[in-house]
Amino acid sequence: MKPWLLIGDFLRRLGESTLFLFTILSALPAALARPRLVVQQLYMVGVLSMVIVIISGSFIGMVLALQGYSLLVRFGAASSLGQAVAFSVVRELGPVVTALLFAGRAGSALAAEIGLMKATDQLSGMEMMAVDPVKRVVAPRFLAGFIAMPLLVAMFSVMAIGVGGGYSIGVTLLGVDDGAYWSQIHRAMHFEDIRQSLVKALWFGGAVSWIAMYQGYHAAPTSEGVSRATTSTVVVSSVVVLALDFVLTAFMFR
């Protein structure tokens, strides 16, 4: 395709998705008025992502402890391992890796679900029954993704710092006292770190949910269209999350 056509298409999609975001946001009060729908989706999104978040969190914690130790011990700072692990997890890896996993697991599933509903006329059917699919289907899912992310990030962080990091220290017998590990974490973590983590989680959750909803809702109503929407959700979400992470970090550092 010609480059200017690609740029034109990109701008069109950007405009379309921005409009769609406003449509979703204006439908949020309707979704909040029916918390049962949101809770249902929260359960779906949460269950979809929980297992991989727990497993990935543990492994990342283990690796961080091992790598961190080999670096810190050179400076005789092995006792600061807890702080190093906690910092990298809470501020960076927790929100970012969780968001990437969330995009791959829940985001793609949401896009496929909505795309299929569109392809099988379920969304049109709702409209003809005088039910707004953005209010009934899209908004509760968006909200659920937005709420689920902080919870998943917290879960990831606990697994990484506690289970993963703790396991590495306990089992591989790094020369770190596990008491020191914990008290370091306790002393070094401030409310500010948790706040940054939460801010990122909310932004990432909103972004991934928005992208998934947009891709699904605007998918071509064919099997090819649905598969493209699923792939795009993961690709676009991943890039957006990483870019957004840089922007948010730069802002919060000041």
Binding site: M117, T120, D121, M128, M129, A130, R136
Partner: protein
């Protein structure tokens, strides 16, 4: 244009609609008589589904009007349009049931969305509607567990849950075996008469449709080609209508898709295009 009767529920005038530069309708006038079964027939791709979406206000015509019970469908606020749609039921080609809900919940869906009926009432209404289409026994099944013909009957039960004035059927017989077809035909006619509905039946299954309808339109090339009582349409003088009704391969609609290139030249031209 001769009118099908004095009491018209849907009045379409001068309808023009197209996708991009391709025109689908180029000035269509239709009257759907109240309380009757009206067939709209035409070859695949003439825009039958499009017409139903235009009547339902999902899409907007480039020109012309659609009036439902005297109200211009495309000049309504979204809220008013939604109120209108509660009085129209529509059956999509494949039923369009919500796949994450049971048959029971599918039929209950419009009731839960639009009424504040107590649970016991919802249950009664749903079971009554399911009984009307003969599927009370399937209430607990999921859409993937029932056949295509059953899906359409469930969709029909759902479409009449709010007791609409009109039901639009998009190709309800396509892909169905003869028994299912017969069941659906009888059901459409029965419900129309028993509930005092107005039915719009879009299809290209000519014989089936003509046998249960009171009035018929034949649409092709963006225009109404002929209309009248089924017997009149069967005896239509239009060459196209005759070709369509009797499935002749050639006639006004050529067997060959239009091309400017000569056949022999095309063959000799090889890979060059």
């Amino acid at each position: 244009m001769s009118s099908p009767g004095p009491d018209v529920l849907v009045r379409v005038r001068g309808l023009r609609f197209g996708f991009g530069t391709r025109a689908v309708f180029d000035g269509v006038d239709l009257d759907i008589p109240r309380g009757k079964v009206t067939a709209i027939m035409g070859p695949s791709g003439t825009g039958k589904t499009t017409l139903l979406r235009l009547i339902g206000g999902q899409w907007r015509p480039q020109a012309g009007t659609v009036e439902f019970d005297g109200v211009d469908v495309h000049r309504q606020s979204r809220a008013a349009l939604f109120e209108l749609r509660k009085r129209m039921g529509m059956l999509f080609q494949n039923g369009a049931l919500l796949t994450d809900l049971t048959v029971f919940e599918n039929v209950a869906f419009p009731l839960r969305e639009h009424t504040r009926l107590p649970e016991s009432m919802i249950r009664d209404v749903v079971l009554m509607k399911l009984e009307a289409v003969g599927l009370r026994g399937a209430a607990g099944l999921y859409p993937e567990q029932i056949s295509g013909g059953m899906s359409r009957r469930v969709a029909l039960a759902r479409a009449i849950a709010l007791e609409p004035a009109m039901v639009m059927y998009d190709e309800p017989f396509t892909g169905q075996d003869p028994i299912t077809m017969g069941v659906l035909m009888r059901l459409i006619r029965q419900l129309n008469d028993a509930l005092g509905l107005t039915s719009v039946l879009v299809s290209h299954d000519v014989d089936e449709v003509l046998s249960i309808s009171d009035y018929a339109y034949v649409v092709s090339g963006g225009k109404v080609v002929d209309h009248g009582a089924p017997a009149a349409v069967r005896g239509s003088a239009s060459e196209f209508v005759q070709q369509f009704l009797h499935g002749k391969p050639d006639g006004p609609v050529p067997f060959h898709y239009k091309t400017a290139r000569d056949y022999a030249a095309d063959l000799l031209g090889g890979a060059r295009r």
